[in-house]
């Protein structure tokens, strides 16, 4: 493997990446859970599904947070995660509008 130049290496940017993963990862997890809650198996009213949904928020959130440090820079982490959020919420609101 070739040695990476300083440019190619991922930057630490601890605060920005942690912020991006913690806040945007949190909102992203809600978007995924929201889609599942309305359109996943059983629909919005299934017995005890609310509890299942609540349980699903934290693993998605924490996984996004864990892998946020793989972005090369903090700014990139914010841009990417923001776009993921916009996509996920667009899908959600589109599906709500269609149904």
């Amino acid at each position: 493997m070739n040695r990476l130049t300083a440019e190619q290496k991922i930057k630490p940017h601890w605060w920005l990446k942690t912020f991006a993963g913690a806040i945007l990862g949190f909102t992203f997890s809600y978007a995924i859970v929201a889609i599942f809650a309305w359109f996943g198996s059983g629909g919005i009213g299934a017995t005890a599904k609310i509890q299942f949904n609540m349980w699903m928020i934290s693993p998605i959130w924490l996984l996004v947070l864990s892998f946020s440090y793989l972005f090369k820079t903090g700014v990139k982490a914010i841009i990417y995660l923001l776009s993921f959020n916009i996509i996920a919420y667009s899908v959600f609101f589109f599906l709500r509008w269609v149904s």
Binding site: G42, I44, K49, W55, S58
Partner: protein
């Protein structure tokens, strides 16, 4: 497997810092959690057998309820029926009760004499098991934030960090994982051995750790998560709400206990009732919570599943067992709880979880030791931050264990001097914990690690000795009829006495014959 060096270094930093920040409170949460696998047994062990009244047959229970509720006003509202042979058939709280832990509850035990007369016995309820559970959930951090315990929230945050530590740990271990997974290199120096065992335990019990990290975050922040979900649900109701019923019931309309047992047979498959807790019996919102057990199933808690129903109409309001095919989310959610509480596999499952919890505690302790080793300098006196962390690790981890063992040991003696039992437990825990912590900062980690472990050995050894004394000497009075299952607590204490003796010996060897330029050298 090849991973880029910059990624490895990034995740190594994350692993190090999340671990060191969260490790100490998680250590307490884990080993105390191991003990909570046997929470009820510990309470049973600590309660003088004379508090429990003789069990009676199921047919007699209705007569007992009738007589007790006629005599005692509190029993008209609610009470608990126990089917366990070592517990009183009927109990209720004369004072206190309710969900939150309180130290001054007075529990009324009731049974029938052979002539069918009501016998009752009011005793302060022993909360030792609950207190250990409290320690498990809060790591001993007192105080409230809103209506939530501060310690629970601290452990919630620590658990999120722990999740990060797990993921980052796997990532930076991947390149060497295949090669050195089962390697426990003893001949490559002490550090290598600690590192190898840290990795082995971490990887081998990884699913368990991921489940625990996830569920603790959920337990700590479920209110926040539900608040967020209320936006998602918009105008849809999140929880089914029942209409306020108009009918006032009273206890003389109560169906017989055997009716409920038949109902449990109807509703479930292979479960049997362990206890039934009635509440609000003379009101418009009566309820009965039936704890049911089936060791063949994945139960929600290690203590069983539950069914809540209306005691007069048998309408099931909530259950941790799905009542029909469409309720699959009920069993998913119950299985998440079960995976945290070790509700599967019966007693073997509980012992497995007990061991896994202790291994988890070992993971945090060894992690801290590795952090210290990594920052070690080639000089007899180590840096101030290193010494501080070593003192803190020894003081908190070993001190907390010593405090719990001392509390268990004190139990029978506290009954002997008629102490206010639950308050005395708490005083004992914090007194010993802070004494050990101060001692370790005063004398340094190396010396205190040896002496606290020796004290642990002696304290553990004294637990079965106290039990034997209590049975042998009649002036202890209350303990002569101790049932044999209680001895398991004493046997486990004896095993741990052995473990602490061995580890104190090894620690001493390291102090006198180990690496000289170390925080552990004496």
């Amino acid at each position: 497997m090849r991973i880029r060096g910059d990624i490895l270094r990034t995740y190594q930093s994350i692993h190090t810092w999340t671990g060191i920040v969260a490790g100490l409170v998680l250590f307490i949460g884990f080993y105390a959690g191991s003990l909570t696998m046997f929470e009820e047994e510990i309470t049973q062990w600590a309660t003088p057998p004379s508090h429990q009244l003789a069990q009676i047959s199921v047919e007699q229970l209705d007569d007992l309820i009738l007589k007790a509720s006629a005599t005692y006003e509190k029993a008209q509202q609610g009470f608990k029926i126990n089917f366990n042979e070592h517990s009183s058939p009927m109990t209720w709280y004369e004072q206190g009760g309710g969900r939150s832990l309180s130290l001054d509850d007075v529990m009324m035990h009731a049974s029938l004499s052979e002539q069918g007369e009501l016998i009752t016995n009011a005793e302060p309820a022993n909360e030792l098991g609950n207190l250990i559970d409290m320690l498990h959930r809060t790591a001993g951090i007192a105080g409230k934030l809103g209506h939530e315990d501060l310690g629970v929230l601290v452990l919630g945050i620590a658990s999120a960090l722990y999740f990060l530590a797990l993921v980052s740990g796997i990532i930076f271990l991947l390149p060497t994982l295949v090669k050195s997974f089962f390697a426990l290199r003893k001949n490559k120096g002490v550090n290598r051995f600690w590192l190898d065992s840290h990795n082995l335990v971490g990887i081998a019990s990884l699913p368990f750790h991921l489940i625990i990290a996830w569920s603790v975050v959920v337990f700590a922040f479920h209110d926040v998560f539900y608040d967020g979900l209320s936006l998602v649900y918009a105008d849809k109701p999140m929880f089914e709400r029942s209409d306020t019923p108009q009918i006032e019931y009273s206890i003389d309309q109560l169906p017989s206990i055997s009716t409920y047992l038949r109902k449990v047979d109807e509703l479930t498959d292979g479960y049997h009732a362990q206890s039934m807790a009635f509440s609000g019996l003379s009101s418009s919102r009566p309820s009965v919570g039936i704890t049911v057990i089936n060791h063949q199933e994945m139960m929600r808690n290690n203590t069983g599943d539950f069914i809540y129903m209306h005691p007069y109409t048998f309408d099931v309001s909530f259950s941790s067992i799905p009542m029909n095919e469409e309720q699959y989310y009920v069993s998913y959610v119950a299985s998440f709880f079960s995976l945290h509480f070790g509700g599967m596999g019966g007693d073997i499952g509980r012992w497995v979880y007990f061991v896994m919890g202790l291994l988890g505690a070992f993971l945090f302790y060894s992690g801290n030791l590795l952090w210290l080793e990594k920052r070690r300098q080639k000089q007899p006196i180590q840096s101030k931050s290193n010494r501080f962390m070593a003192n803190l690790t020894v003081g908190v981890c070993l001190g907390s264990m010593l405090a719990v063992v001392a509390t268990l040991l004190s139990s029978k003696w506290l009954y002997l001097i008629n102490a206010h039992i639950n308050n005395a437990y708490i005083t004992c825990y914090y007194l010993v914990f802070f004494a050990a912590l101060i001692y370790s900062f005063f004398h340094g980690a190396a010396k205190s690690a040896i002496y606290i472990q020796k004290t642990l050995f002696i304290a553990c050894l004294c637990i079965p000795i106290t039990t034997l004394l209590a049975i042998a000497i009649p002036s202890f009075g209350e303990w002569t009829s101790t049932n044999s299952t209680n001895f398991i607590v004493d046997i486990v204490a004896l095993v741990f006495a052995g473990i602490f003796y061995f580890s104190a010996f090894k620690t001493k060897q390291r102090a006198y014959h180990g690496e000289r330029n170390s925080i552990w050298a004496l």
